[in-house]
Symmetry: C2
Subunit: 189 residues, 2 copies
Amino acid sequence: MTTRREELARAATDYVLEHGLVGLSLRPLAARLGTSDRMLLYHFASKDDLVAAVLRVANDRSVAEVRALPAAPGVRAAVLALWAAVTSPRLSACQRMYVEAAALGLFGREPYASVVREANRDWVAAVAELLVASGTTRERAPRAVALLDAAMTGFQLDLPLDAGDPLLEQAVLDLADAVAAIAGAQGSA
Amino acid sequence: MTTRREELARAATDYVLEHGLVGLSLRPLAARLGTSDRMLLYHFASKDDLVAAVLRVANDRSVAEVRALPAAPGVRAAVLALWAAVTSPRLSACQRMYVEAAALGLFGREPYASVVREANRDWVAAVAELLVASGTTRERAPRAVALLDAAMTGFQLDLPLDAGDPLLEQAVLDLADAVAAIAGAQGSA
DNA sequence: CCGCCATTGTAGCGAGTGCTACAGTTGTAG
DNA sequence: CTACAACTGTAGCACTCGCTACAATGGCGG
């Protein structure tokens, strides 16, 4: 059985995924959910509390989707599969929200900074496991994920700028090669 | 001679670099600049107009700094020099603001979306010239910049999460290798 | 039936927002 | 001196914000 709070958190997440975190206001959100700001603040201690809950719901979805990805035949294929998942309609909205939250946390503003920190931890762990399952050694995975995660986040941030740009698709291929090189190389460090 | 508007734009930029775009409000900003919200709206048509001006000033600084970088002995060195520049005290604040603006533009909100679009164009061009001056062919430069720019943006976004992390430094080295590989390879595409 | 507790509606507070109307006050050109 | 334009201060409008005080309503255990 799901509590009313969880139900509201999920519905609110859908709303935020669509409208963004930045202008988020309790009254329009409540209207969309068929309730009132009064009730949101009854179930959540404050707006920040609600936002934190929403961020966690969205990140849980992202992480779950990555964990559900099957092991790929090689690192390169894993990267491409991850990119495909991350740009799918469902996850792209979550990623966009993550990027927005991370940007809001850039100046240490709470609750964004803390929640983003823990979300990133979970996300990195999930991606690392995908790489390991796809042939990367446990030892090498962290390095590979570091570049992979940063590049993908960067792609997401510029997505509205150059969606469909063939240069972007090429860059993803290049990224896959680079990550494969890191995962396979015997280089320094 | 600089107009009052330009002077205000520069001062406002310093303020925004320190406090961020998100909670930006005319009255506190004006107080810091020794003027009033009334005057800001006299010199700038609207808050959005002011914000656009600020974004342009900050981006001009970033681009100028990149253009001032000397040609490096090889692509790898160029990437490392760029990263050093971008994480220097002066530029890191500009980069942080760019990331914030890009995030605000994720949902198409103006004036962020448009200004970020043109800022990105200038930035990419400047970085491409640095790579070319450092040995990349003009033909290969766009591909190299695509990955380079995305990865660096991603690093910036996670900087508060793991500043000083040795994994980050390693990732920058890996990125340099990857970009060098793209710039030098005769691969497909 | 009573009392309790989770839940909800109404109304509003205090603060802050971008922006504007209006009345000056300069400095300068004719 | 005058007229005009550039600039600046005061006050306030209309609105939204997160949040709260207060008073119900409903169902369930005793």
